[in-house]
Amino acid sequence: MRVALFATCLVDFMRPSVGFAAVQLLQQAGCEVDVPLAQTCCGQPAWNNGDAANARKLARQMIDVFEDYDHVIVPSGSCAGMLRHHYPTVLAEDSDYSERANQLAARCHELTGFLVDVLGVTSTGAVFDGRLTWHDSCSCLREMQVSRQPRQLLQALQGCELIELPDNEVCCGFGGTFCVKFPEISTRMVTDKVDAIVTTGASTVAAADLGCLMNIAGRISRRELPIRVFHVAELLAGMTDTPAIGEKS
């Protein structure tokens, strides 16, 4: 099976280790993985801010880059949701691309959802010794229906104690440009989220979306709390010996 990894602009820019972890997990499960060089951004910031023209241009560019692969795997619920659920709408009136958008949408997956649902992975064989809590990103939980899959894989980590986060259906306050357009409201939301994380007593929090993770890690760092923040791919690939998100080296 020949799959392409769409790393997402945040992983590409902020945290290459998430990309390498995702490649490792996919290869370990038997996939031939390619990371096309021409990938940039899926266009979600444009679409969610009402800039339909730029959203269309970026969606067409993404389709050109990714449509020849069996599957497109994304280490982010939000960017996967953009490809899966929004491209067909973005390009609905584009006679050259609308059908191609539908085709790509059907073959686009969030990483943990793909590992469990399509590849049938039950354990990645990695070790994680500690108390961990899981943050459901809104897009994973509601748009991609991915909540059981990462939990299943995390519970299979040797030594891992997974603790449920209270109010796990509530947004962390990232929301793309929302967090800088309405910083006070976003701060309130991420403060509530971090408070909930603290109540679990977990020493590590993980999620499948780097946007949420940077938001949560940024707030944890500002409050100087001893909680480490990792992307789920890093945990599943056993790559936790690097500094966590926002952590000193």
Partner: protein, 477 residues
């Protein structure tokens, strides 16, 4: 009511610092969410009901004219009268005219959000009528001279202490000297005050949760019974309802009723569910002599044919408000007009104009929890995005934000330039952060760094680095 929606960002900041409001919101939020969940746990057929409800509303909207005309015909057969109002001014004029024709001096009112939408109280008061709100929450905010902050719990922002203060300031006389320490004390006192008002009113005005086309009935759900007293004691009963409230049959109404209270308050059914059909008949013991229904359009027939049609399925349960993290943080008054929360952020720009209301559509992380809990499956995030698309087309976005987004997109459309910039910028930020791993101050990123550190990049582009490693592998092979 004058709209202040443009000032949402400033009003939200004030709300976040208001400790009394924050305490009231925290209390309400947990209650609504937990009670709804418990009610749905007892209703395994919720998803089927949701599908059925959606079909009923979609069918009705596709034949809206037919069902509204049928409703009118049935109301008239039962001795009532239907009045059509295209806009708020016309609706108010009709209501005031009906009060004048009845030589009315005092008007009791049940809770009606459409009444708020059309500015009914102001119009009635301008016509020298005495208006008394009879829903406890509405009565409280009438005393406080405030608009509702929630569509089903208008005084949810008020604490018990604040309500007691209001009552002490407004209720005079010997019977009102006892301290108001508990909720029953407050309810008892309101009941005493309102009893005389019910008996003395000439006209009673209520809203309607539904209009039943084949019987000409209006349906009203309440928990206090005040709606029934408002509807049946005065000489004239006026129902104010928007046109999308119609459903074909009583059977259809029961499907929506099963969803409404559970989604709203977590009750399986409200304490009172009343159907009003025509005025008092000769064999009836009581009831109004006249029964009028004012059907308000106010932009709804236009919505029927545009991208916001699905919003017409809304049954005003308030579940989207109760589950919205933004509403939960700032409360209803920050939204600056009648309807708050996700449903309000969709409706308000349609009713007061996009130029006045577009900021509300922006004030959402598009988390989707509203859509997930909506009993009518309204795609609220998509409708908010629709406003954003329209705002962008109309050039309403702040010029700086617009050009930054455009700049970003221009780079993302040039993969080679993009890759080069990602490499340079990520390494630069990594170097500036040094061993600390985060940045505390970043130029132009005050919205982020006001409360959060910015995690530093690891340095270098993943895609470029992966390609380099592949190249090395190929070279070694």
């Amino acid at each position: 009511m004058r709209a202040h929606s443009q000032a949402f960002p400033q009003r939200a900041q004030v709300a976040l610092l208001d400790e009394r409001l924050q305490a009231a919101l925290a209390k309400a939020r947990g209650g609504f969410v937990d009670k709804r969940r418990a009610a749905l746990d007892q209703l395994p057929e919720f998803e089927q009901l949701r599908v059925a409800a959606r079909e009923i509303k979609e069918h009705t909207l596709s034949h809206l004219e037919q069902y509204l005309l049928q409703f009118e015909q049935q109301v008239e057969l039962s001795g009532g009268k239907v009045h059509w109002a295209a806009d708020p001014a016309e609706a108010c004029e009709i209501a005031v005219g009906l009060c004048r024709d009845a030589d009315a001096q005092a008007v009791t009112k049940g809770k009606t959000m459409v009444g708020e939408e059309i500015g009914l109280n102001e119009a009635l008061e301008a016509a020298s009528l005495r208006v008394i709100e009879t829903d406890l929450g509405e009565y409280i905010i009438q005393l406080a001279e405030e608009p509702p902050s929630h569509i089903i719990a208008p005084a949810v922002h008020k604490s018990r202490g604040e309500i007691a203060e209001l009552f002490q300031a407004h209720h005079h006389g010997e019977e009102f000297t006892r301290p108001l320490e508990t909720v029953p004390d407050i309810v008892d006192e309101a009941r005493k005050v309102l009893r005389d008002e019910f008996l003395g009113a000439d006209v009673g005005i209520t809203g309607a949760n539904m209009l039943i086309a084949d019987t000409g009935s209006t349906a009203l759900v309440t928990n206090e019974g005040n709606g029934d007293l408002t509807a049946s004691l005065p000489r004239v009963h006026i129902v104010i309802a928007s046109i999308e409230k119609v459903v074909p049959t009583l059977e259809d109404a029961t499907v929506l009723l099963r969803l409404l209270a559970r989604s709203a308050t977590g009750q399986s059914i409200t304490s009172y569910t009343s159907f009003f059909t025509g005025p008092k008949r000769s064999e009836d013991i009581g009831g109004p002599e006249q029964f009028h229904v004012v059907l308000v359009d106010n932009g709804r027939s236009e919505m029927l044919g545009n991208a916001f049609r699905e919003m017409l399925r809304c049954i005003r349960c308030g579940a989207c408000l109760n589950h919205c993290p933004v509403y939960g943080a700032v409360g209803g008054h920050a939204y600056g007009w009648v309807y708050p929360g996700p449903m309000g952020s969709v409706l308000t720009p349609l009713m007061i104009g996009l130029d006045e209301g577009h900021v509300l559509a922006d004030a959402s992380s598009l988390c989707g929890r509203c859509e997930a809990v909506c009993p009518m499956s309204i795609p609220l995030p998509s409708l908010l995005r629709e406003h954003r698309l329209q705002s962008h087309r109309d050039g309403l976005m702040k010029p700086l934000a617009r050009s930054m987004l455009g700049f970003w997109a221009a780079i993302a459309r040039r993969p080679r330039l993009y890759r080069w910039l990602v490499e340079r910028k990520s390494r630069l930020l990594h170097r500036i952060a040094g061993k600390r791993g985060y940045l505390r101050h970043v130029p132009m990123a005050g919205g982020w760094t006001c409360s959060r550190d910015l995690p530093a990049p690891q340095g270098g582009s993943f895609v470029a680095e992966w390609q380099r490693r592949q190249g090395n592998k190929d070279d070694n092979a």
